[in-house]
Subunit: 231 residues, 2 copies
């Protein structure tokens, strides 16, 4: 069965993302150092993010609002205003951070684009994801971009039906076991897990055991060979 | 030439939106009353929103960040923290505000859905727009939902090609001359303008003169009759 469509996650699969969130978190810890213990601060931020996820969804704007809310809650609504201004600035910098493809990504995608329909499938903020794709210089290699609010089996079924011959003839590649791999396998697609050095806690899940349509690769550069060996 | 696909804008076409923003702005003015003149505050907020539009895009989260930024700038970074907490709460309330279809909308859509493919075409925050559609109870009437970062002629060409027989056999209906009507006409589609009582300044534009594919209706309830008369 020939694969016709390859779905690719964006953040931390094609370019760095979690690292930028971590840098901003470090900056947040430093800004709050005189007001809160780093451990307490991070635990509180995780709680606030989790609580806000259904309302704010994924992305920098919601993260910025969650940092401000965390600062307010940890200080009994007495966070210094300059601190709020610094958090706003940190959020804006995340939105304008340069986007550079991870090593080997550009070549792997150029190779894949010759034989497969490439579809970018990503969660997060619509405008920001489009801006990152444009800034990455990789936009021309994709036949479609699907920015979705949730990545579940139904999402992959719909996307692979729309851009190819259905999930059974598609493969998904990404760094999140929970969002990219497990639901794509459930939909009937092949799935290649390419772990990133950092994982957002919310995205952690166990790898499938001995699944015939699953593989783990150490880099996106190995994806073309794996796909071609399937045929 | 028979129309096959009808595109519909969401905010202020299917349900109230600008009214909710105005209520929040009024609350913001009241919160800032002891710190800023209402006129100056609104002028400043418009400037900040405009400056942030390319970075934050459309939607409640960006609007909330812009209110916080406005408060900081007008007070020389000395806005009281309780005020920031109030702005955060106002933003969250906008995100959970109940969504009720405008009068006549449900019946008009149910009627249209029998003869046309209905596609929701809207700007704004992906998650929040999906949540509003679900809350409105209108979701089942649409064959597709397209949440886009910009509404230009190219957007309408792509969407009407994907969900029908192209723009020449499609009609767009919405309350924004600038975003719903002019670019849809430019793409070759029919367009029905249904003005809402309030218009966001950014969306104002002149109506086309004597355009053969354009009409202005006083309510969405008039849309089915207009479309059927075109055939």
């Amino acid at each position: 069965m020939r694969i016709t469509t390859v779905g690719l996650d964006a953040d931390d699969t094609l370019w760095h993302n979690e690292g930028i969130f971590r840098l901003t978190q470090d900056r947040f810890v430093a800004l709050m150092a005189h007001l809160a213990d780093p451990q307490d601060l991070m635990a509180k931020l995780r709680d606030v993010e989790k609580r806000n996820l259904r309302l704010y969804g994924y992305g920098v704007k919601g993260f910025t609002l969650s940092m401000i809310e965390t600062a307010m809650e940890l200080t009994g609504n007495e966070a210094p205003s300059r601190l709020i201004a610094e958090i706003l600035a940190a959020g804006r910098e995340m939105l304008t951070h340069p986007v550079e493809p991870l090593p080997g990504v550009e070549q792997a995608l150029a190779d894949l684009a010759q034989d497969y329909r490439l579809v970018l499938i990503t969660k997060g903020d619509l405008l920001h994801q489009e801006q990152k794709l444009a800034a990455s210089g990789l936009g021309e290699l994709f036949v479609a971009v699907e920015i979705v609010s949730e990545k579940d089996a139904g999402t992959y079924e719909r996307v692979f039906a729309r851009h190819g011959a259905g999930a059974a003839r598609a493969a998904m590649c990404g760094n999140s076991m929970r969002s990219d791999i497990l639901p794509a396998l459930e939909a009937g697609a092949y799935a290649a897990y390419v772990p990133y050095e950092l994982v957002w806690e919310h995205e952690v899940a166990d790898a499938p055991e001995n699944h015939p349509r699953f593989t783990e690769l150490s880099s996106l550069a190995e994806l073309p060979a794996w796909l071609r060996a399937l045929t």
